[in-house]
Subunit: 218 residues, 2 copies
Amino acid sequence: MSIAPILDVEDETGPRGPYRKTAETQQRILDAAVRVFAEAGFEKGSLRAVAREAGLSQAGLLHHYPTKVALLSAVVQRRDDAALVQIETTQPGVHRLQALLDFARLSADSLDEVSLFAVLSAEASRESHPAHEYIKRRYEWTIDVAATTFQEVADQGQLEPDVSPRKASSMFMALWDGLQLQWLIDPSTVDVAGDLEIFLDHTLVAPLRDLLAATVSQ
Amino acid sequence: MSIAPILDVEDETGPRGPYRKTAETQQRILDAAVRVFAEAGFEKGSLRAVAREAGLSQAGLLHHYPTKVALLSAVVQRRDDAALVQIETTQPGVHRLQALLDFARLSADSLDEVSLFAVLSAEASRESHPAHEYIKRRYEWTIDVAATTFQEVADQGQLEPDVSPRKASSMFMALWDGLQLQWLIDPSTVDVAGDLEIFLDHTLVAPLRDLLAATVSQ
């Protein structure tokens, strides 16, 4: 999985001319898709509506994303890429756990994207759903990524010994999904990042803040 | 919320004649609804298809459940009632946490129901969804019920002091939702009840098994 497309757009020294234009068009399509599918749902939202919202012909949209699954996968992947950038640009170990909490905190600003992702994951859990294989691989991948971070933490002797890095990762990601669902249902009831931190405080050998402070002062 | 309809059906000494027949018909409709909506989804599944699956006319179905939301709410409520019976027939405190784990373990036998519930919760998280108010109240209610159990545990000095009973409850329910989603996506990857027990072991002052054993030997 490449993180290049995101960096291309953000980076002023990135590609110029037609390549830059393609990247910009794709970002505009993905933004439009988030709005359309968050409002209408996966079943009812149409590629036609996304094209209209993005100011493109349907043929123009299909050139970039030939199917609904391809389009939704790209939306989810853009979000995952943003999280991955945040992890990879942070030093290994507990600091990367803090980066995940920061990402969860920022997600409060993208309700439509979180909503789209929650509905797609639930609907695509059915084997007959066209995005099922994609969502299955996507869960494997995100749990792998977070497990690598928990492994770094375990290598420092900072993970409770009764939990494997992989188990800590899958539980962390599950809690994140469940808290986001409660937050979508009633934003006033839950602090997603705060509750994820409580989970980490109970899964690490000491509260996350203490471990972060100890690393800084080394 | 009454748990009577469930007990009526299970209990051989329950109501006779027309009342019993009504309860049986309603159970048959709910079973049919689980199959239809798990297969087709909330948007595409129709009351007509549920009526056909239950061997009733559409008018016969509408007599019991006048709208799709009423029908789906009844499916969710039947499931919640079953969990509530399991809690209420168990002695207070840690034994009720074990009852919740037992219920989670049993859910592995009702994939269609778990799937229906996951999709409905995600779709109904949108404010514009007809079941939104129902799902919102339902989350408040289940978190209240579990918080009462965590309060009993806290009253025994068995809950870690940095977590309130309500916080423990909302995190437990969120983790449950998220683990069930991972399980629906790929049943081979997750042990829902086992992982919930790990969460409890880290949230209680001692592993759940030890606290249960200590209560028995008192």
